[in-house]
Amino acid sequence: MAKAMPLAEFEGQVMSLEELKAVDIFEDVKPDAIEKYPGTVRKRLFRAGDVICQQGEGGTTAFYIVEGTCRIFIRRPDEMAGKGRGLVARIGRALGQQKLPSTRKHKAEAVVPIDASVDLTYGRLATTLEAGNVFGEMSCLNLAPRSATVVAETDCILLEILRNMYEVLQRSKTFKGRMDAIYRERVLDNHLKNVWLFDGLPQGVIDDLKRVGELLSYEAGKQIFAEGDAADGMYLIRRGQVRVSKKFPGGERNLAYLTRGDCVGEIALLHDTPRSATCTAADHPILGDPGRKRRPAQVELVKIRTEDFKRVIAEYPEVRSRLEILAERRLLEQAEARVLITPTVYSREVEDLGLIQGQNLMLINLEKCTRCDQCAQACMKAHDDGISRLIREGPRLDKYLVPASCRMCLDPVCMIGCPVGSIRKAKDLNIVIEDWCVGCGVCSKQCPYNSIQMHTLEEFGRHVSEEARRVAETGEVVEVTDRAVVCDQCSGLPQGPACVYACPHDAAMRVNAVEFLSGYLTSPGATTLPSFVRAPVEAQPVDEGT
């Protein structure tokens, strides 16, 4: 038995056992579980208009709304950097020169996952949380920063719950049932619509799919499916992190980390090919307190089986052919993209060098570099937010400097832990950070190589509109926050990475680290590089430009 725990100290009224049991979700929680952790659930009373939590601030608790409604929203810097108004910028546009957009446009229905029982959409970044909803779970379990702002619309009664009690609650059937219901009702629709394959499907199809979707739960570390398995359906990620990996000669490599709202294995619905990658339930990182003990995370997925899907689609024949075309195209794209970045030499020993992660590693030859900063200037000017993603500082490899700039890691650990799923891989497999980034800084801390920096909104130039400082629909003026900025490999720029393009002294280069170092390691004095290492990843225009 656990020894007596000291009373947890935080705001709010301590609730007695009876009071707690009166709350519906604690119905089937065993009383001794409650007594084990005294004071870990507090009643909080808020008046209408009170701010319960702010986007980006630290938090350690989850909230359950007992009574009342709250408004939950995130701030998104709209029109963050705008078009350049100077004469030079106008001439550039007239000549067809482009700046890379720092924000990508999305459909209004695009899902913006937040740390609550409901999600937001890109077009409407606010929603209402009624009684029975939960928010702040990731802050509670993983110490992630608050992903959204919550403001009480009416007078509310909330329960604020610490981690240990929350883990108990998660095992309660009532609680689980409640959460599942909310998910099916309010979130699954959106998630389904955001699967690229289901884009534009009639609402009837979506509704049918909603009904056939199965809610599954995996413990972190468990494999969901393995490469080569027969494919039997697709998975939508409802909660948690999922790691996609693939075998390569010499080892297994992580391709991506997917989060709430993403889908995996969707090709299986139409093609009978075996799984092309392994999918494993992953754990969120614990920030700030590596020694913290906790249970393994539960990853919750929605599975749609192939035969169920086929049955639904059978009633809509015209849809099927369109879907098949889409699927075909997607398969080809993925095959191409994988070919470009597949290393031919890969060894686990060499992987110990952090550099080996770099599929597009930037190196600066310090014997040629005159420290003129043209590379950083070019990076700054090539992006419409006026921020340089390149900082000419970092470890050294013989005569090369490895500056702080995304190196397109083989294992993109930066993607782990984003509370709003805004860090993604784009078409060219470069990392992009969507504009609903809440500035929590998880990705920046995750990246081992200082490649992601947090910038305050004011740095993003003069063009931040007043609207960006207001909340969509609430009319409140709030303060600006930080935003994460990462090198996007200048994908979308025809001439390739601006830093390499603009280096006048032939000092900057972007190489595939494995190729580069394998030649390097076999003959330490070698300075010749394979000719293709400087070729950028073949760029395709990304959405709309500036």
Partner: protein
Amino acid sequence: MLLDRKHKAWAWFTVALAVIGALAWWFDPEASTIGRGGSTIVGLTLGSLALLFMLFCVALSLKRRVPHWRLGRAQAWMRGHIWLGLLSVWFVALHGAFERGGPLTTLLWVLIALVTLSAVFGLILQQFVPRLLLHSVPGETLAQQMDRELEWIRKRGEEVVIEFCGSIETAQPSPMPEPPTKAPGMPPVSTPAHFAAAAPAPAQGGAAAAVATAPPPASPPAAAPPKPKGPPVGGEPLRRFYVDYARPFLAGEYRPQLASPGRAQSLEAALRTMCPAPIQPGIDAVMSLCDRARQLRRQRRLMRILFAWLILHIPLSWALIVLAIVHAVFALRFLQR
């Protein structure tokens, strides 16, 4: 830019054009009537080409404002800048038939000479100064951040000294006399005498001497009840060193004892002999801060050298292009053929 194999094509191209230009100039058909120079067709062509090359060279300055525009790789521009710039000087010499001409053209000559010499000087610097920076400044940082770094170093220095010596300004109470920490028979180290003023006299070959000359201890012996956790004793030499040498050095003043790594090392060795074991990490920290500051200063010097010539080259080349255009306009106005 390093002059390496990749310049071969440009170099040969330049040499070929230079030879062709020279031959055309020498065998100018109008040489015997008008005389070789700017008025003949050959002379006008050479002058126009030289002006075009110079405009291209100046365009580099404009291109740098829009590095993200797709105008060709910066390396190609740089190679072109170097080689076409040199070629333009040769063409100007042919165009002017190696004469001074009038006041305006004489001024143009002077400007060309200054621009070219500064350029060649800068190019030569670029061949070896980056390598010098690479090898002699392992702790190199961004030039614009150097001040922040030095600021941090100063602050850190204060923190370290306070941590190990209690306070910076007031002298520490002197500790118990300790047996000499180094083996007898070691060669005497020359140290500034006042380091040792409040500390036990440095052991110069004999425990007896040390004990005999030590002042009576001011603090109670170690059998006292455990003191509250404070800075370790014996840090006075470090404190004195910091106040007299390290702090001014970190602030930017010149201290010959710290100015070169060799001298700093011998000073460090002396300091280590004067301080007990708990203080050694403090010495490590302070000396490495001094080392870093030295490196940063060296970096600043080298980078100033690497960029100083631009202050001459760029303004003069703009003045040159303006006056060259004026010259072209007026020469064409008064051209007599």
